[in-house]
Symmetry: C2
Subunit: 251 residues, 2 copies
C-alpha cells in the first residue's frame, strides 16, 4: 500500500531485498527495520517466503513481514520511487558516484521530506546486487568497513542503513534518565566552605600551605554538576566527621 500524501518521511522509505536465499535473514531484516521505525519491506523473488524461519527471526516485528510485498522484478519493487539507493559492499567499476550510507540517508531524508518515495536496495547474501541491478539504482551507497573483511551480514547491513535513516530523520536524541534538582551556587559554596573547615580540622589540609587541594575538588565537582541531594549527602558526611573529631577532642 503506498504511503498517504502526508506520510511521515520514514513511511516513504522502502527496504528492497533482492533474491534473498535464507528466510531467516528476511526475518532479521524485518526486525532491524522496525527497531528504526521502517515498516515497508519489498521482496524481489525470495527463495522462500513466507517461512517459519523468517517469522522466528523477526521476533515480534510481524507487522513488517505481514505487510511485505513480494514482486517478481526489481523494476516492480522500485516503481514510484524518485531516489533508489543500491547498497554494495564491494567496489564496482561502473558505479559512478558512490556515497557513504550516512550521506545516502541524508539524501533519502531530503527526498522523503519533499514527498518522494525512496528505496534502499540490498542484493543476495552471497554476492550482493548484480551490476545490472546496481545500474538500475540512481545512487550507489556503501557502508564504511574493514577493507580486509567487509562482509556484513544482510540483516546487519539493513540495520546500519535503517539506523542512519532514523538518525537522518529524527536526529540522535536519546532517552534521558530523570534529572534531580540542581544545587544552587550558594549551596555549593557552603559545601566547599564546610569541606575546607573539616579538612583543616582533620589536618589533611594545612591552611598555611593549602596547595591545590580546594581548586582540585572544585574542578571535580564542577565537572559532575552537583545536585541538591548530593550536596546534602556530602555535607552529612562532613558533619559526621566533625562529630567524630569533636568526640576525640572531648572524650
Amino acid at each position: 500500500m503506498p504511503p498517504s500524501p502526508g506520510a511521515a518521511p520514514l513511511d516513504r522509505v522502502r527496504i528492497v531485498l533482492v533474491r534473498t536465499s535464507h528466510p531467516g535473514n528476511i526475518g532479521a531484516a524485518a526486525r532491524a527495520m522496525l527497531t528504526m521505525g521502517l515498516e515497508r519491506l519489498v521482496l524481489v523473488a525470495p527463495r522462500r517466503f513466507p517461512d517459519a524461519d523468517a517469522t522466528a527471526r523477526a521476533s515480534g516485528a510481524s507487522v513488517v513481514l505481514d505487510g511485505a510485498r513480494v514482486v517478481d522484478s526489481l523494476a516492480d519493487a522500485l516503481a514510484g520511487c524518485a531516489l533508489t539507493i543500491g547498497c554494495s559492499a564491494r567496489p564496482r567499476e561502473f558505479a559512478g558516484d558512490v556515497v557513504s550510507v550516512r550521506v545516502a540517508a541524508r539524501q533519502a531524508h531530503a527526498s522523503a521530506v519533499r514527498g518522494e518515495d525512496v528505496a534502499f536496495v540490498f542484493g543476495t547474501e552471497m554476492s550482493g546486487l548484480s551490476n545490472e541491478e546496481l545500474a538500475s539504482c540512481s545512487t550507489v551507497a556503501t557502508i564504511p568497513a574493514n577493507p580486509h573483511y567487509s562482509s556484513l551480514n544482510l540483516a546487519a547491513a539493513v540495520q546500519v542503513a535503517a539506523y542512519e535513516m532514523r538518525v537522518a530523520s529524527q536526529g540522535d536524541e536519546v532517552w534521558q534518565a530523570r534529572r534531580f534538582a540542581a544545587a544552587t551556587h550558594e549551596e555549593i559554596e557552603a559545601l566547599y566552605a564546610h569541606a575546607q573547615s573539616t579538612l583543616v580540622a582533620m589536618r589533611f589540609l594545612n591552611p598555611r600551605l593549602p596547595r591545590r587541594l580546594m581548586p582540585r575538588l572544585r574542578r571535580l565537582f564542577a565537572r559532575a554538576g552537583l545536585e541538591r541531594e548530593e550536596v546534602n549527602i556530602l555535607r552529612g558526611v562532613l558533619a559526621r566527621i566533625d562529630d567524630i573529631l569533636d568526640g576525640r577532642r572531648r572524650p
Copy 2:
C-alpha cells in the same frame, strides 16, 4: 593481550558481552566487530563458549573468536579501561548522563587517541545490563530507536556501535568507482554547439524561438559532470542524426 603502547585507536576498543545466552549471538557479534575492524572481544560468564553455533555465525571472523577472553566478572573485563560505555536500550532512572552511541563513539575515539583503553559493554539478550552492571560503567550509551519497538538483536546492537566506532575513527570515506578522464571546457562547448545545430536541423529547436532548451540541456549535463568518452558518444549520436538528415535532403 593488551594493545601495544603505539596501538591504533580501534585496537584500544574492546567489546564486552555479559552473560550471553546464545553462542550464535557471540559469533554474529564477532562478525559484526571484524567488519568494522574491531578484534578485542571479552566474554563475561557466557552460557556456552566456545561453541559450534558461535563459529558458524562468525562466518570467517574466527580471529575474533580465537582471541576472545573469557572472564568471570565484569570487573575483570573492564580492568585497565579509562572509559567504559554501558549500552542500554531501555531508560534507567539512575543512569546519569546518557549519550547516543554516535556521541559515545566520538568520546571513545578521543580516549583511544590519548592512549587509553575503552570498553563497550552489552548485557544479556533478554534484559540487557543489570542496574548494578550499568552503574559500574562510566558512561551510558543508547542507540536511537523506535520507542514502540526498540529491541535490537544483540549482534545488531554491536554492529551499530562498531560501525559508529569505525566512522568516529576513520571517517565515512568509502570506496570510489574508477573515474574516467573528464571532458574539457572546449570539448563540452563543442558538444553544445553541435547539439544546437543538429536540433535546429531536426526542426526540434527553432532558432528564432529558442525558449529554454539549451539552458536546460546545459544544466542537465553540468550536473552529470561529463567525461571525455561520454562527449564522444553524444557527438557520435549527433553525427549519425546529421547523416540521416543529409540523406533525406539528397535522396
